[in-house]
């Protein structure tokens, strides 16, 4: 049984890091059939795979296209596991909770999606508000999930000001969780000016998010 379980976990992991969707999805079905806890299938299988892809991406050994494709594979395998997770009301161990979105008026979300992938791979629970996300959405989502940290992305110079609106709205709602900002139009100086934290890319965002919630080295 143990060796069966190990074999399934290995298939989950390899399906993700080897960019083989069918293998990962089929392994998720096998995991359920074998009575494996879906959280274990994610943590010791799929997430291990995506972490390795993330590390290789950071070292420039894998490409952004591969990282995103691996994340798609992981989410399609999780879809298979989800009904069983709901039935057992089991949850993944989370490192931290984060609200993430591209600010109102801006529809550029590829960079933001990379941040989500990397953070989820590192064990964060991420509430992704998508693109063109209203400012009040950041506030309500942060309250609902008890966010430890937030992230607001903006690619255009015309929408960076909205990041300030997000900070102001959070603070006036009494939410103290730090806000990370990023995107092509954002600078370190701007982040400081509005009382936020600048992150230049997805790898940097992961390290910074851990530091901000006191769990990073």
């Amino acid at each position: 049984m143990t060796s069966d379980k190990d074999a399934i976990l290995a298939e989950l992991e390899n399906g993700v890091k080897g960019l083989q969707q069918e293998i990962a999805v089929e392994a998720a079905r096998k995991a359920l059939a074998a009575g494996m806890n879906p959280v274990e299938a994610i943590e010791n299988g799929l997430a291990k795979g995506i972490r390795e892809v993330g590390e290789k991406f950071a070292k420039k050994e894998m490409f952004v296209v591969e990282l995103i494709y691996a994340a798609e594979i992981m989410s399609s395998a999780i879809q298979v596991l989800e009904p069983e997770m709901k039935r057992l009301s089991s949850q993944r161990n989370v490192v931290g909770r984060m609200v993430l979105g591209t600010v109102a008026g801006d529809i550029h979300d590829i960079g933001k999606n990379l941040v989500r992938i990397m953070l989820e791979a590192s064990g964060f629970e991420v509430r992704d508000l998508g693109k063109d996300a209203p400012t009040e959405g950041f506030v309500s989502a942060a309250k609902e999930m008890g966010a430890d940290v937030l992230g607001a992305s903006s690619l255009m110079t015309t929408t960076v000001d909205v990041q300030k609106e997000v900070v102001d709205a959070l603070r006036s709602a009494g939410i103290k969780a730090p806000l990370m900002v990023g995107g092509a139009a954002v600078t370190e100086e701007w982040a400081k000016e509005i009382g936020a934290h600048y992150s230049s890319d997805a790898n940097n965002a992961t390290v910074m998010a851990k530091q901000l919630i006191g769990k990073g080295g």
Binding site: L19, V64, V65, Y69, I107, N113, S200
Partner: protein, 487 residues
């Protein structure tokens, strides 16, 4: 495909700088010049061959008036396609008009030292080091010594260069400064030793020779060296080097005609010496700075002459080797970048089979290792455009486009995963964010190129020559030191 050898491929419509009727006019006017005023042929053997074939030869002035039909017959005789072989047969290539290649050019006298950044006289080690770098770069396909080493016997520098190149580079070798018949004889002997005899060399010519004609209207002593190469079955590259406004008329068209006349005259001599032998057209025009009188390799007028000569070579159906990638800049800088990019790209867009000049600065007189890496990078970018693109079911994924729909993206799609490796990727070009760039030392492309060059020299090991062959080659070099005439 070998990771160290990747040919460029033409996949788009060829650019023509002249109307067809103008190209025809260039040919006819060239024939008129050769028939009426003739060309001065310094080579005695050249004059003998022309005379025997019916040219009117003046033994006092050495001017040979060549009938047009003889020139046209000779152009038809040239071997097609031309094969360029290499020490390592995996790097052999055929000039089929569908692929393009890059070569280094000669001949510098100074090197910008990779360690100190200072300019100093060139040495044999610079030939060896630049050859090793070319050996490692996938889109550098042929090696011509970038500098003349000043630390070997001057009269025999070409054979020392060839030995250093053979020891450090397995790719095709072009000699850019073989002026005397005897130098050619020893180089052919070395090449034969490498491939296993003269007959084998004829099948796999691992050496070619740039043969300069002299403007205006002279075929110099280099003709004798070219005859040796032709008879050995190794392609000479017949180079016109008109200096617009000085040794050629002050117009693009005037320089085009003059250069063309010289090239087809030399081709005629060589086809008489060795009928059906391979040869290539070549051109490296320069333009005069009309304010100072200095000569600059890459003024737009000179680039237009290049493009026109490519069109003429295509008209004759023979491959062309364009001396380009020049710059008057003294350092690997912005000026070097734009001059080189324009000159190389217009030549390739016109269909040039080969161009030369990567790595040299200040009108082909100074070697910069950094520039060699940067020029290679530029060629990889050009080749990525020159290859064109297909329009078919695979390249236009209608189903994926409809599946992604409005406002989605393609980054997680299998089609993207299947095709992203076809995308051009930088080696020395810096595409990082300001923050990352600043944090890692604010390096420019030149800095990255320097790091890369040092890395290659530290790590790249070319396939070695056998000890017996090395001994044999060294013996030929010593023999050449005695046998090549010198004062």
């Amino acid at each position: 495909m070998d990771a160290k050898f990747r040919p460029g491929k033409f996949g788009m419509k060829r650019f023509e700088v002249m109307e067809r009727k103008d190209a025809d006019a260039v040919h006819l006017k060239s024939l008129q010049l050769l028939e009426r005023m003739g060309i001065k042929v310094v080579s005695e053997e050249g004059r003998r061959l022309l005379k025997a074939a019916g040219a009117e030869v003046d033994e006092k002035t050495h001017v040979c008036k060549i009938p047009g039909h003889l020139v046209e017959e000779s152009m038809r005789k040239c071997k097609r396609p031309v094969k360029m072989a290499a020490r390592n047969p995996a790097y052999d290539f055929v000039l089929d008009g569908e692929h393009c290649y890059a070569c280094t050019d000669g001949v510098g006298l100074a090197t910008i030292d990779l360690e100190t950044g200072e300019r100093r006289p060139s040495a044999l080690k610079d030939v060896a080091d630049s050859a090793r770098i070319v050996d490692s770069l996938p889109m550098m396909h042929m090696y011509n010594p970038l500098v003349t080493p000043l630390d070997v016997p001057k009269h025999a520098h070409t054979v020392h260069e060839y030995l250093a190149a053979l020891e450090n580079c397995e790719k095709h070798f072009t000699t850019g400064s073989t002026y005397q018949k005897e130098e050619a004889v020893y180089e052919i002997k070395m090449a034969s030793a490498v491939v296993g005899g003269e007959e084998e060399l004829r099948k796999r010519p691992i050496i070619s020779s740039l043969t300069c004609t002299t403007s205006p209207m002279v075929l110099g002593m280099t003709t004798d060296a070219a005859i040796e190469f032709s008879r050995a079955g190794c392609p000479p590259l017949l180079m016109a080097m008109p200096l617009i406004g000085a040794t050629a008329p002050m117009t693009v068209a005037g320089a085009v005609v003059l250069g063309n006349a010289q090239v087809i005259a030399l081709a005629t001599v060589l086809q008489l010496a060795a009928p059906g032998s391979p040869l290539c057209y070549s051109s490296e025009p320069m333009a005069m700075d009309v304010q100072s009188g200095l000569f600059e390799g890459l003024f737009p007028a000179a680039d237009m002459v290049r493009a026109a000569h490519v069109q003429m070579a295509k008209r004759y159906g023979i491959p062309i080797f364009i001396g380009g990638w020049g710059t008057c800049s003294k350092a690997p800088d912005v000026q070097a970048g734009y001059e080189k990019a324009f000159s190389a790209f217009i030549a390739y867009l016109s269909g040039a089979d080969m161009t030369s000049g990567p790595g040299l600065l200040e009108n082909w007189t100074v070697l910069s290792f950094e520039q060699l890496l940067i020029d290679h990078e530029m060629f990889t970018m050009m080749a990525d455009m020159l290859k064109g693109f297909p329009v078919d079911d695979l390249s236009v994924p209608m189903d994926v486009i409809m599946e992604v729909g409005h406002e989605g993206h393609y980054m997680g799609k299998k089609h993207t995963l299947d095709h992203f490796r076809e995308m051009w990727q930088p080696v020395v070009t810096d595409g990082r964010t300001y923050k990352e760039w600043k944090a890692s030392g604010s390096k420019s492309a030149v800095d990255h190129a320097r790091d890369r060059a040092k890395d290659i020299l530290k790590t790249h090991v070319p396939g070695p020559l056998s000890e017996d062959l090395r001994k044999e080659l060294r013996a030929i070099v010593s023999e050449a030191e005695g046998g090549i005439p010198h004062k």
